[in-house]
């Protein structure tokens, strides 16, 4: 049962996390643009540029094409942003336990990650544009492609924690409290590194960024599933992009780099909370730099059939090897084999 106190807490958390997700998400987009610009020997826009862009989009006309199914076309961006924000409620923020951590685990987060993508598919098909239809079709295929390696990462980490006797291995709180690196032996650490590599590749795909941005592909599809979007609808998709960046980086941090400053250095309670929060944001920026900014500057776009091959064949195999190493790491010592 949910009491009135829990209900009030859920509503309050939702409001706070919405503001936090939007502000930090936009800052992340600004930092990403700045980092990418510096790597290309450009000055780049100011970090607050995404805020300026958002304000500009909100005063621009919100064109609904003649061919579009208006209600789906307008609803998709709103639900895409809202569903991205809700995922944040299930993820730890620094040393703060996730507000809805007791009401859903990592498996749920995996499923919730599909909702923003499905909204983009629905919005693309509802646009009534050939470019957007192709973009929506590619988004769907990309989603099918990266779900498999993502599932391997989640299952492998949870399985290793369960093998070490940790309760509720799919709970993000448990995963963050027992980092895979402290549970696993040498073989397991190699397996964990392979899974980290897979997760680093899933992140740009989930965010529709280079090299997995075939669904938008400005140079061939003129923006793909976003081609007909403008004004406030495009603003919502752009906000959603920022929030999703924070979500994906927070998932990587929770699974692979969950340490906090307060667990390493003794600090007063209030200071520890702020220090952990800043440290968390630093880790998020680090993850974003390596799996989004650096990759999109260094690589070209994959074709859609290459995207599927990369995820189902190459990263699927790397993930399975990682899983096998984690299994061997647990099974061999139990069988008396010293590694």
């Amino acid at each position: 049962m949910i009491g009135s106190w829990e209900l009030a807490l859920i509503v309050l958390s939702a409001v706070i996390v919405t503001v936090y997700g939007i502000v930090v998400g936009l800052f992340l987009l600004g930092i990403d643009r700045k980092l990418a610009a510096h790597m290309q020997a450009r000055v780049g826009p100011p970090i607050r540029q995404p805020f300026i862009d958002l304000r500009k989009l909100l005063i621009k006309e919100n064109v609904v094409p003649d061919n579009a199914i208006a209600w789906i076309f307008n609803l998709a961006p709103v639900v895409a942003l809202a569903s991205s924000i809700v995922i944040l409620l299930y993820l730890p923020i620094g040393s703060i336990y996730p507000p809805l951590g007791a009401y859903g685990d990592l498996i749920l987060v995996m499923y919730l990650l599909t909702i923003p993508a499905l909204c983009m598919v629905a919005g693309g098909f509802a646009s009534g544009s050939p470019y957007a239809s192709i973009g929506a079709q590619r988004e769907m295929v990309t989603m099918i492609a990266y779900e498999f390696p993502l599932a391997i990462v989640v299952v492998a980490v949870a399985w290793r924690l369960a093998a070490a006797g940790i309760q509720d291995p799919f709970t993000l709180g448990s995963i963050a409290a027992h980092p895979i690196w402290s549970v696993a032996g040498p073989l397991g650490i190699v397996g964990g590194l392979l899974l980290l590599l897979v997760m680093a590749a899933v992140t740009p795909a989930e965010l529709s960024r280079i090299p997995f941005d075939t669904q938008e592909a400005e140079t061939e599809l003129a923006g793909g599933l976003l081609v007909e979007y403008s004004g406030k609808n495009l603003a919502m998709f752009s906000l959603s992009q920022g929030v999703k960046t924070l979500v994906m980086a927070a998932i990587v941090v929770a699974i692979f780099i969950p340490w906090n400053i307060s667990s390493l250095v003794l600090l007063p309670e209030g200071v520890a909370l702020v220090a952990d929060l800043l440290f968390f944001l630093g880790k998020v920026i680090l993850v974003m730099f390596f799996s989004v900014s650096l990759v999109r500057v260094a690589m070209a776009r994959f074709q859609i059939n290459q995207v599927v091959s990369v995820f189902w064949i190459y990263l699927g195999l790397i993930g399975l090897v990682g899983l096998l190493l984690l299994m061997a790491d647990a099974a061999l010592p139990a069988a008396g084999v010293i590694i």
Binding site: S13, V79, Y103, Q137, A158, G231, M236, N305
Partner: protein, 115 residues
Amino acid sequence: MDLIASLYTGSGYWNPLVWLIAIVVVVVIVYLIWSRGESGYKKGTLQTTPFISGNPEPEKSGVHIPGGNLYWGYTEALKGYYSRLVPLHTGRLNDYLLWYLGVTAIIMVVVVVTA
């Protein structure tokens, strides 16, 4: 059965009602932000025709993506698998029954040997 309790599967858990409350609250906030934006546009002008890089709009049927092409990219990448699998679907019941019997026999052998 308590419909508003969390569902525990043995390995994981989730509470649909809590998710629903959270998404409703967030949708309301997002809608408030969305509604602050400009709604107007020039209906019935070139603005509302689909953007096809300045080219005239082709026939709807010409640019429609049929169901068979929806997963293009996926089937293209895994064509080595599909090119072998699709011809096996002959549409003849006799073939399917033979496959069923064959696979059942293999599974029985594996089960008996491993037991």
